[in-house]
Symmetry: C2
Subunit: 168 residues, 2 copies
């Protein structure tokens, strides 16, 4: 893995990165993302949902009462796409949509108990995979992992990312 840290501890010095090393990182992202989504995908398929539903459930749990517009920003899809997903989740009683108090144009989204239950099941297997990977890789690796991922995001998404409640 040739750390090749350059001179001092602190620094951004030059970091030699061959095309091959970078390609390997690209492939690592590709294969890891497959693993990352594999477990929840199975549960979703059993219940007749897809990844789009998972994403909505995840962020509604994380930001209870979020508006549709905020969710659109986070997910980066069109309102038509999101609406299709939300409609089924609401019809199926997993998500509740409440008209806003201050601004009655806005809809605030919440998980119902049933929605929270499915979200928990999905999240559980995914967290378990993360936990196992974190443990296998060790604490320093975890810190590095998150640094690189954060640096890889588009700035606007990084802002969203950092705005989400940090639990640790």
């Amino acid at each position: 893995m040739t750390d090749h840290a350059g001179p001092g501890a602190g620094g951004e010095s030059l970091l030699y990165l061959t095309d091959e090393q970078l390609r390997k990182g690209i492939e690592a992202m590709f294969f890891a993302y497959r693993g990352f989504t594999a477990d929840p995908d199975r549960i979703l398929a059993e219940n007749g949902y897809g990844r789009a539903h998972h994403r909505a459930l995840h962020f509604i749990r994380r930001c209870p009462g979020t508006t549709v517009n905020n969710l659109l920003d986070i997910l980066g899809v069109t309102k038509q796409s999101l609406n299709r997903v939300l409609r089924t989740l609401i019809e199926d009683g997993l998500v509740e949509s409440r008209v806003g108090n201050r601004d009655k144009r806005e809809r605030h989204l919440y998980l119902t108990d049933k929605g929270a239950e499915l979200e928990t099941r999905l999240s559980e297997v995914q967290r378990e995979r993360m936990r196992a990977a974190y443990r296998a890789a060790g604490p320093e690796a975890v810190a590095g992992f998150r640094k690189v991922l954060e640096a890889m995001m588009d700035p606007q998404l990084r802002a969203h990312f950092n705005r989400l409640k940090e639990g640790g």
Copy 2:
């Protein structure tokens, strides 16, 4: 970012991982993957291709002469899906399919000059994003990043991953 590494420096000891920390890692994967694919997606859209084409081009470049079956394993899609993509790439003169010598049922896949050119353009922007993230995060972070990603893969995919030529 409160790394919270647990007691001593060295160890795998117990690594306390709250659900919130794990969720944050999940979100990091989600947002980072968006960034990861954003740049090539733009180039692909200009040329009327999609991510599936990119994946095929990437692995054909990495494994020149690979068979369709091998590619199916790596990509994890059905032969019908892959075939649709390969057909357009072959029709457009980006990929060449040569009948095998030893086993004439097999098709060996190669990029044409034109295909290599597009792959290079796609790869370039993606490598540039990786390079920037790696540099921003620092060498130790890169090592950790790859450790966690590798631990996150399904074993079978990890085997594929490790079989790919390592440039560093």
